[in-house]
Point group: C2
Chain length 629, copies 2
């Protein structure tokens, strides 16, 4: 038996000083509990998502300095922790000083071993190879077998030697790599225990997969495995990630015997059976991770931590009476005190009494600060000024006037609300204003730049519209326990109400048909192998049922929406053009998005602003579908 | 002698169809000129900076399909071209189909050889490892020596066999790597010629370095080297890169014997001496690359190509009478017809007659469309509406009013100009409006979000303020040949004119002292090892002259600005806090920036929104400097 302290700490990126203080406190507590080992997550001292701060030599010095403090504190306890390891006399491929993403093991006030990450992720939000020199690269440089470089760490505790396999995050997710660090370690062992220190961002459903993969590893090697993950919030600028911790211990049979509370900083203790004569701990079950509970928890935790990280205590929310702003308001009201939330309804002549009343009712339910400021006069003034001020051609002295079309007027309204009112109100109120956009809108740019796309954070922009509805019901049922968001808001047809053509009372609304387009857009965006019109049309040509099954949308909806291939193709091309065209331009200037899915706009989904393209096979298929039979 | 056609083509990213058409035309021309070989750049078919489009299998199929067309066209000519090479039955580390950044060699309508990139850049704007499987990784997977995998390509032309070393871009920039692909190829040769196909973005001064490095390679191996680079424009969303081509041929002595016109699509021919009995061509000199000419050329070319790529033919520019908008207007007027440019002066009561007259004068000089729209009334209306509309606390029914401070009013003005007027005018005019921000402002967020930071492209945002002034003079002297930008605009104190405290007539202006802060910010941002306050203060503590030399700013300015360490430190911390704090939040929502320097905001300079940090050594140094002696 080893008494193990699981230091599931909140890592504050860019604050090695604060992280070290916290680790020292946890170490102190663990020693007082006679723990044999305390484990901290990957990059516990510097943080993980730091952008190019890794290029500041002075920052690296500090990380090393604080790492020494942790090592010095390893009297009477073995400490396993993540930090950057620096080889000052060597350089990386970029010519800068060589850095490794490393696991440090310390005991008796001394460094016992350093082990560096073998597999470095370079997909989604990860940029490991940009900053760190992996063990794979080292093997190549030294012309050594990678296997021989992966050696376990031997630690003597109470006169017994334990052989520990130290791996870092991606080393455990090796299914797609041609090399398995765990197998190599075990071959150089045998191991008594595997420790995987991680800094693994939350993704809906990821823990379910992790439990399958890591259980199998423990079972196949017959070695208990400890997964220690960080909690907190880190970001890559445009994309904000929560870290849920959920540190988990698997026994040699692959059963889960302990886990730490997700989204909570904890210091848990575990008496881990190491030898086969030890009594095995009973298997326990972990909660399912692919649920609306997890989703709410991530969004709530992430929004709260983001506010804290930028020192924002007050928010302004534009309340239209529609579903997105309603969910946003109810979410923030579950995080901040009502008096720190200012809800603003900003009607024009196009807004119905229905939505104005619903906005007021929601505000009343939440008990926040509330005000109504009309945009009618200022929009009229702007339209008159734009259309009424002569423009002079200075080459010939001729004058003309600009024409303010109804489309131009729609966007003027959206910007008037956000850039004129909300931004001004937020500044006067001493806070920021939220962006309430959802992922469906963001996908096709169905929002106005500097208008409803603006804000300091887009908490809901990684949720498809149907998930926003799910969250609305969840807030009412599970968070508030009453109908805080009026059911009428949930039942209302989604509409921007920027013209009389978008009248909710007449059941008119958005051009996006969410029960179908949510799923089409998801296929463009979230599928590991991105679907393009070629894939979509190919599925459609195999029958609507095939397409619906591939997209995961409701059965029968395709034929219901599209009388034939011509209408189907017209719709498909319309949205593909927007998704890969104007919407990219808008996303470049979008606020940070809080991540929950396995593909998030911003740094996870990297994109270029290019001309629209349809593949050759698509064009061929289209011709054949549209040709008269 | 080999007759070589240098296909310095403009590659349109995401348009394999158009790129292939162009290549086929060039191949046709080269065959009619009896060229032995035609060379195209790296990723000539797909484009290079495509974001995650590489994850669309249908796109990859198309690239392969078009590659086959080029191979089929290699009758009577040898074709060397870049494309993605796909191993459909293997996967990369991300589990997706395996892709290589590759060089294809075709002859007699057949594929002769494929060579894949050995060294993949992962710094600055590059993300190669995210998408491509390098030869280094392949060597590790196969447990083979990397050296043995790097084999030359043998081509028979007119009954003689030529041994060609095909490398791709970064393979030639190997000084910081532990492996030299050229040496390995030569060891497996000997080589008759080295061909480096590239897709290398323009950076001011990069060609000077490239000529030094590549000349040395040719000289040291004694093998002529052909560098073939693409022209055009590609982007990573937030950062827009020009590609200058400047394809260059080095003889076995390391002398430059030919180069293609920069920033131009060209098909040049060269009779290249291959054996030592051939007559060497005379060495020529290439223009210096680190000049205001290069800078102007890149910005002008990039802006023009960007407009073209998004199909924008008209622009609106807010003209304040200050230097940035003046340079922006003069730049666009050198690209578009004057009648497609609408200049707008938007005064408030804080704007001086001086700047209003200068704006009008500049507009007159350019002969564009011009209008004046005041923000006075709408700003007053907004202030009155914000301050005069009661806010109700719905928890207790109490009412209060928001306070509109002078600071709040400053930002209201900036947003009124951009989000209300310019955005509306641009929509009505049928174009976009420009962002005229410079790099100094962007560094510390000295601009208003949704205000003067807004726009569809920030053409000048990679220029420090002193470079904006240089460009102003250059435009007058070299582009227009007359004082198109009034000298008074160049001489004016830079000011935002958002309050009477910023009156230009009283010589008051920006809080940024450009002759010093430009260089301080550059050290934070552009130095390969980023300077932090620790470095700056350490240099300062060694004497102002040391600091000035390290920063490259004018001598004597530090003591002139700061009476002592207290003032120096106060200034340093002020800007560091902004640079790593609020300015990051603003940059997340900034427009795309046109790149010219070796470090550009956006995708080149990756950053996270974190809390401010000062290192331990900085704090110690600060204490010692501020302690009474």
């Amino acid at each position: 038996m080893l008494k193990i302290a699981l230091g599931q700490m909140e890592v504050i990126p860019n604050r090695p000083d604060l992280n070290t203080d916290k680790m020292l406190t946890m170490i102190h507590n663990a020693r007082s509990q006679q723990a044999d080992i305390i484990i901290f997550p990957e990059m516990a001292i510097p943080g993980y998502l730091l952008g190019d701060t890794w290029e500041q030599r002075s920052y690296l010095y500090d990380c090393e300095y604080f790492g020494q403090k942790i090592i010095a504190a390893s009297q009477d306890i073995c400490i396993v922790f993540g930090n950057v390891a620096i080889e000052w006399d060597k350089h990386g491929d970029d010519g800068r000083v060589r850095k490794h993403n490393a696991c440090f093991v310390a005991q008796h006030g001394q460094l016992v071993a350093t082990r560096i990450k073998t597999l470095q992720p370079n997909y989604r939000e990860f940029d490991d190879t940009r900053h760190f020199f992996s063990l794979r690269k080292l093997a190549l440089e030294r012309k050594q077998d990678l296997e021989t470089l992966l050696t376990p760490v031997n630690i003597t505790i109470k006169d017994k030697v334990y052989t520990i396999g130290c791996i870092i995050c991606e080393d455990g997710w090796n299914d797609d790599y041609s090399f398995d660090p765990i197998a190599a370690l075990q071959a150089n062992g045998p191991l008594d225990v595997i420790i995987n220190i991680s800094s693994s961002p939350f993704t809906l459903g990821k823990n379910n997969k992790r439990n399958r993969v890591f259980s199998r590893q423990a079972r196949e090697t017959g070695v208990p495995l400890i997964y220690l993950n960080t909690v907190g919030l880190q970001n890559n600028g445009k994309t904000v990630y929560t870290f849920d911790g959920f540190s988990t211990v698997y026994n040699r049979l692959g059963q889960i015997i302990a886990y730490c509370q997700p989204f909570a900083e904890t210091l848990d203790y575990l008496d881990l059976p190491i030898t086969t004569v030890d009594q095995e701990l009973p298997a326990i079950t972990v909660p399912d991770d692919f649920t609306i509970d997890s989703l709410y928890q991530a969004i709530s935790y992430g929004t709260k931590k983001f506010l804290h990280s930028i020192g924002m205590t007050k928010v302004v929310i534009g309340l239209s009476g529609g579903i997105d702003s309603a969910v946003s308001a109810a979410l923030y009201a579950s995080i901040l005190n009502p008096e720190n939330i200012l809800l603003v309804n900003m009607p024009s002549k196009f807004n119905s009494a229905t939505t104005k009343n619903l906005a007021a009712q929601l505000a009343q339910n939440l008990g926040c600060l509330y005000t109504v400021m009309s945009i009618e006069q200022s929009v009229e003034y702007t339209a008159a000024q734009l259309g009424g001020t002569p423009v002079t051609n200075l080459a010939n002295g001729r004058q003309c006037n600009l024409l303010v079309s109804s489309f131009v007027l729609e966007n003027i309204q959206a910007r008037d609300r956000s850039a004129r009112l909300l931004a001004g109100i937020a500044a006067a109120f001493g806070g920021g204003f939220t962006c309430n956009a959802n992922k469906s809108e963001l996908t096709v740019g169905y929002s106005t730049l500097y208008g409803d796309q603006a804000g300091f954070l887009a908490s809901l922009a990684d949720l498809w519209k149907h998930q926003v509805y799910q969250l609305a019901s969840y807030l009412n049922t599970h968070v508030y326990g009453r109908e805080i968001i009026p059911q009428a808001i949930i039942d209302l047809v989604p509409s921007a109400e920027l013209s009389f053509d978008q009248s909710v009372d007449q059941g008119k609304g958005d051009p996006i048909i969410y029960p179908y387009h949510d799923y089409l857009f998801r296929a463009f965006m979230e599928y590991w192998n991105r679907a393009t019109p070629e894939d979509i049309l190919s599925w459609y040509s195999q029958g609507s049922a095939v397409l619906e099954q591939k997209l995961g949308c409701q059965s029968g909806i395709v034929d219901q929406l599209f009388p034939g291939p011509r209408e189907f193709i017209e719709d498909l091309e319309r949205w593909w053009r927007l998704y890969t065209g104007m919407a990219v331009a808008k996303r470049i200037q979008a606020p940070p998005v809080l991540a929950v899915s396995r593909r998030v706009y911003g740094f996870d989904h990297r994109e270029s602003q290019n001309t629209i393209y349809f593949t050759q096979k698509y064009l061929t298929l289209k011709r054949s579908l549209l040709s008269p039979t």
